[in-house]
Symmetry: C2
Subunit: 335 residues, 2 copies
DNA sequence: CTTCTTCCCGCAATCGTTTGCGTAAAAACA
DNA sequence: TGTTTTTACGCAAACGATTGCGGGAAGAAG
């Protein structure tokens, strides 16, 4: 199990180990002849440079931290996928972990990662207040926040325009003829959802219809919870013709409850989601939704992070990207 | 950005830095009084030990590599979730990457990870032949393979009993009255799928029905590819009453094609999947399937890995777990 | 008062690299 | 041939921790 080191190959070749180091790093001060010999011996002994030792002197580990709330969320795993790809293109590896939406875990993981000397961190915050404890930590390593519009935080973040998405969805349903639109999902405890709801409300005002909310204080976006709440919703006589769900996972739960209640989508009620997770495009699901352009978002996030890593003192920047409406079959025109 | 080191706190406290190290690691040779002073100063300067430096001398990085084919596959993201959790419970962090089912990338990632001196690796192999290049690499770091029954490889692996799963599904459909069952999915190029198909064939033989295959040479399990192949299948007049899909993702594609072809599931055709990915439990999908017990599988894999990490020379072991049938609504009884 | 323990703590080597500096040998120049 | 420049490589000091060993001071034992 003992790994072969630079000294081992130096001994075999009969040069000093600094020569080996220089030969491998492509220094011009090494003759092509000895370089060839060194490279050959390295291959034979299959020497792999010890990145850890290198990191000690070079001051960079080529490691990027990615802190998710939950890798099982398809939204997050898509992010992980793109981040991983782009990291590797730049020679970085990613250190991944899940906070499970727990602030303490989030902080712990962050500290662990700075302990591992990661060169940068992409963090999907548990909530808007997570900043309090993190605000000092982010000073110790280049960080970009992902997915939350945290305007108060003096740190870079990337996010979709949730407010505009809320408006956009409402306008779309209005255009389809809906005048009685229910907004389904939590409003507090997360800037993201607050903004989506605000966008909805603002659009309602502009369009001259009255906003209706359900599930205002709810604090989980899982399918199961969406289902439970929707069940309760459908047990009361619903007055509306369309539901605007604050997340696709919630919409999935609504779909399940609707099915059980004998409510057809879109015939009886139109359903609009938000996020465009992969599941939304599944057969039979086919959910119309407001898309977060994940590929673009993650690409922008990585660019932002790499910039921070290079010019250490670049301050921060906020990038808010435009959402798209993805039309499928869960909403219908009414008159 | 300069991190505070053990020497910095030693200077402040007025002791040697070895004393600080011992105080922090809980050595009994340090008086409680100086330890308290040291701890306090560490807190004030918020010192975080440099894991990289520690790794150099302690010979372990507390890093575990996890090589997936694709984190976007819900099956894989579930694995990642459990692995991450258990790793953290043992004080490890995970280094994640995707091979995209490409052998060269797989090898590259593996090498990168040994460069980073990970203490162990969990690898979801691209295919059964991936062993050729990896067989040397696995000697350099404790490794366990996940998800493939690679009986020829002298390395530990964890997998569900794919053969038994193939049998189980076939028997289930037979029990429902089906005599004309089509096996849908690739057979070659992957031991996993070969075994599933073999299980199907074996059960057919035992039950006295003739096996039928579709899509034998196909080499991708994505929804889209399942859809395309199923489209072709349905354009010919199908003779069977049930389809046993080799993966849930394939089943999802079949579902989509069936919908378009006006074929109802389960009224016209019963559909059985394999894996029990999260999507299978979605409303409207509700796919009956053979489950891989992911939580258990990953737990066993981690235990196995930790064992190998401890007694370096423990050889290998193969753990094949029993699959479960998860009954939902995509299969119906016929007569 | 001397000697031996015991208790704390410091010195210095080590882990595997990178890199500034110094210096022989070879090449170029006078 | 003597001097300078270039080429090619070695020496040794970092990087930030851990840890075996040695030793001074205080207290106990003689």
């Amino acid at each position: 199990m003992k790994n072969v080191t630079i000294k081992d190959v130096a001994n075999i070749v009969g040069v000093s180990y600094s020569t080996v180091s220089r030969a491998l790093s492509g220094s011009p001060e090494i003759s092509e002849e000895t370089r060839a010999r060194i490279v050959e011996v390295c291959r034979q002994m299959n020497y792999t440079p010890n990145t850890v030792a290198r990191a000690m002197v070079k001051k960079n580990t080529m490691l990027l931290g990615l802190i998710l709330t939950d890798i099982n969320n398809p939204f997050m795993s898509e992010l992980a996928y793109y981040v991983d790809r782009q990291a590797h293109e730049h020679g970085y590896n990613i250190l991944l972990s899940n906070s499970s939406k727990d602030k303490d875990q989030e902080r712990e993981i962050f500290e662990l990662m700075v302990g591992h000397q990661v060169d940068g961190i992409i963090l999907c915050p548990c909530g808007p207040e997570s900043s309090e404890a993190l605000t000092q930590l982010t000073k110790r390593v280049p960080t970009v926040f992902f997915g939350e519009n945290l305007r108060e935080i003096p740190e870079s973040y990337i996010s979709v325009d949730n407010f505009r998405g809320g408006e956009m969805g409402t306008e779309y349903l209005y255009g389809l003829g809906h005048r009685n639109i229910l907004y389904f999902g939590k409003r507090r405890n997360s800037t993201t959802h607050q903004l989506r709801a605000d966008g909805y409300e603002n659009a309602c005002k502009k369009l001259g219809i009255t906003p209706h909310y359900f599930n205002n204080t709810f604090n989980s976006t899982s399918i199961q919870n969406g289902y439970l709440m929707a069940k309760q919703l459908f047990s009361e006589k619903p007055e509306f013709t369309a539901i605007f769900a604050s997340t696709d996972t919630n919409a999935l739960g609504i779909m399940k409850a609707a099915e059980e209640a004998g409510i057809r989508i879109p015939e009886d009620i139109s359903l609009l989601g938000f996020d465009n997770i992969r599941d939304a495009s599944l057969p039979r699901i086919d959910l119309t939704t407001i898309e977060q352009p994940m590929k673009l978002l993650s690409s922008v996030a990585m660019d932002c992070l790499f910039q921070k890593i290079q010019n250490e003192q670049s301050g921060y920047s906020h990038r808010i990207l435009y959402p798209n409406l993805v039309e499928r079959s869960s909403c219908r025109k009414i008159d």
